[in-house]
Symmetry: C2
Subunit: 110 residues, 2 copies
DNA sequence: TTCATGTTTGAGTGATTAAGCATATACTCA
DNA sequence: TGAGTATATGCTTAATCACTCAAACATGAA
């Protein structure tokens, strides 16, 4: 029995904004994109996303705090994986919207 | 003939991140929510979102720059309206994801 | 013209945060 | 035990950005 179409409370909007903020960093998007094909270790992610190990570790922590990725420790390494499949649709939606805007802009110049 | 599943370039990811950043502010989400029922003037939006006119005007500019809202001037007033319908699905997706996470968290405590 | 209203914009302040560097923690193996 | 590897974390710096106040701009009426 899901509620429908009622305006969100201020606290809910803060949560939504927070979720968007987590996705508002190119490095974190690179990490998520690298994880699209499956789980990876921090070191592998650092290499894939062309970042320092410390920085990547921090970003992964942010993603994990938001519940977007999961953490699995195995020996020395820590493997991260996408935990929220809605990420895929989210990125598709945004990319599609940006594409559409670009095409509309392109039409202005014929 | 849309391209599919290819990894996004760094510049594309920056654009996507920018789009998310625009949505990562509670005040802007409040404005968008107020606009869900149709176009509104800046003054009306300021009242609906409980913000100062100056601040609301700036946020509307940010939303307009991102192509999320459109601007229509009529006499003294300026009316804004949602220009990118993907916003609706975007918010639904994020809200659904947050809901799901909260329910999962709730289950942990039975 | 002058006045009033609605909107935008300039300047300044404070808060948030990404990134870098160094260090600390956790684990494995010899 | 100690050395080596993978990851996380203090701490600092620089940049970004939301917000406020005041002033500017734009439009319409008297």
């Amino acid at each position: 029995m899901a509620k429908k179409k009622s305006p969100l409370s201020d606290e809910a909007l803060v949560l939504v904004a927070r979720r968007f903020a987590v996705l508002a960093e190119p490095m974190r998007l690179r990490l998520l994109q690298a994880l699209f094909d499956g789980e990876m270790s921090v070191g592998a992610l650092a290499e894939a996303a062309a970042g320092t190990q410390a920085n990547v570790s921090r970003h992964l922590q942010t993603l994990a705090d938001a519940g977007l990725v999961s953490r699995r420790k195995e020996g020395l390494q820590v493997f991260y994986a996408i935990a929220d499949p809605s990420i895929f649709q989210l990125c598709e939606l945004v990319c599609g919207s940006i594409d559409q805007q670009n095409q509309a802009r392109a039409k202005v110049f014929q």
